[in-house]
Symmetry: C2
Subunit: 297 residues, 2 copies
């Protein structure tokens, strides 16, 4: 849709002219803009390292170090070596820093309030709805899918959240059965945003079988990120991966209480088949041939 691009660019213009000034809440505090931004970022996280900040804000390491010295000089932040890794330094706000952060937060809040003030309640609701939709879609569009080692901490976090959700949703609960033991040949694909997993999918050769069938495991999308096609994207990604590895067929199992998942599989061209494993939690089984070529960026 080329019109989407035009609308996006048009909005970009409106945004920089009218909402971009929200950043001005960081001005006039006697600190440089970049320093204020850094302060705000530190306060917006529980605890963070210099590296995280550098990455998040896309700044040079020397630049960040200098700004941190400046904030330390003001008595707003303090740093300490990370006990887990002595190379890293943890950064956090002091009491005064928290106060300065709150001031920034309030300024920003006030500016935002002023911006929407001329609108009626009804219009504000429409605006909030539109922005929430745009927010979700833009975040989903810019998320990167990447393969990680089976024992990767991000993958662990994702599967832990997946199991928690199953436990909540299954009428009789869910027990993964013993601690995680990465199975050989398994691949984990995660989508991360700001370092935290927002979607996960696993792929492994279906054991004791024909070498042409792969199984999709542990498909999960963070509840806050649903409705933006992340599940479908993950599925396409896994299928492409399976195809690259010479598989010609994908199967998966699921539970009938996971309605969205079933709808997703059906939309993606999966067909119901009979039970192919002895997974006690499975109630539905699907397959899809990997004949035709599909694309996934």
């Amino acid at each position: 849709m080329s019109t989407t691009i035009a609308v996006l660019r048009g909005f970009n213009r409106t945004y920089t002219q009218r909402i971009g000034v929200l950043d001005e809440s960081f001005l006039g505090t006697g600190r440089a803009l970049a320093v204020s931004r850094l302060l705000f970022e530190i306060g917006s996280r529980h605890h963070t390292t210099v590296r995280d900040l550098r990455e998040q804000l896309g700044l040079d390491s020397g630049h960040v170090a200098r700004m941190l010295r400046s904030l330390e000089g003001e008595g707003l932040v303090e740093t300490a070596p990370d006990p887990d890794d002595g190379r890293r330094r943890l950064v956090r706000l002091t009491q005064d820093g928290r106060k300065a952060w709150r001031e920034l937060d309030e300024r920003s809040e006030a500016l935002a309030a002023q911006l929407v003030d001329p609108l009626t309640t009804r219009q504000q609701e429409r605006l909030a709805e539109a922005l929430a939709t745009a927010d979700l879609l833009v975040r989903a569009a810019t998320v990167q899918l990447r393969e990680v080692a089976p024992g990767d901490p991000v993958a662990r976090e994702a599967t832990a959240r997946y199991f928690d959700e199953l436990d909540e949703r299954f009428p009789a609960g869910f027990d993964p059965g013993g601690p995680e033991e990465p199975q050989p040949g398994t691949t984990s694909v995660v989508a991360t945003s700001d370092g935290r997993p927002v979607a996960h999918g696993g792929l492994r050769p279906l054991p004791d079988l024909d070498h042409v069938t792969a199984e999709v495991k542990r498909m999960w999308v963070d509840p806050g990120w649903r409705g933006a096609g992340l599940g479908a994207r993950m599925l396409r990604h896994l299928e492409a991966l399976a195809r690259d590895r010479g598989f010609t067929r994908v199967v998966l199992d699921t539970n009938d209480s996971l309605l969205e998942a079933i709808a997703l599989y059906e939309r993606a061209g999966y067909r119901r088949i009979g039970r192919y494993n002895d997974n006690p939690y499975a109630r539905a089984w699907f397959e899809k041939g990997l004949g035709q070529i599909q694309t996934e960026g």
Copy 2:
């Protein structure tokens, strides 16, 4: 709605991290970011003056002058005195400048395309719709209403567009009857965006009457700006103005083919009354008492 503010601020965060990079299309051209922005702005307008650019981009006059010298040095822009006012200088792109502008435009387009690429067509449509809504509401929220002298060029442009629209919409056309002659006591309120009128409303004492009734005239909202409450805002503004001047009642006339206008007046608390003037184009007459206090920012 405090949630609107939260959503707006959340979106702001997503935006600066993910869409803000659209500006990076201005980087890596061997020119400073601000210079590229200026070049892009010049090329986005038909012809423009130094003053317009300064105002649009919110820059210091010395800064702009220097950047223009730099662009002239590259052979990308040329300036000439404005024949209408020798103090001003017109700025426009040269052949080479147009080429450089096109390059920037293409980079920006490509970045935007890349951003939305992971989304399905359906999701892109949802995104475009959400952004278009947000765009309209944000623009409407940040537009300023201001009183102008009756002969002001902006007011003239607005009424000219209003008359054109009436001429188009009335089955038998519309003839304003002779050239504009500003009537004594008339006030014009305009909403402008980037210097062009997007809404207009007039107010005058109702002639030969009681000195307590004001008449709203020439209510008009640019078609591209409808649906964001600008009409209602204008009406509230005019009512506040009338109240300030001691009027206790407002009347207005309209034509029954202007359905949105009639709906607007009814929503705003206007009641139909009998004909109070001999306007040949009027088919409906309304009044509203200015008893209770309402607010308009």
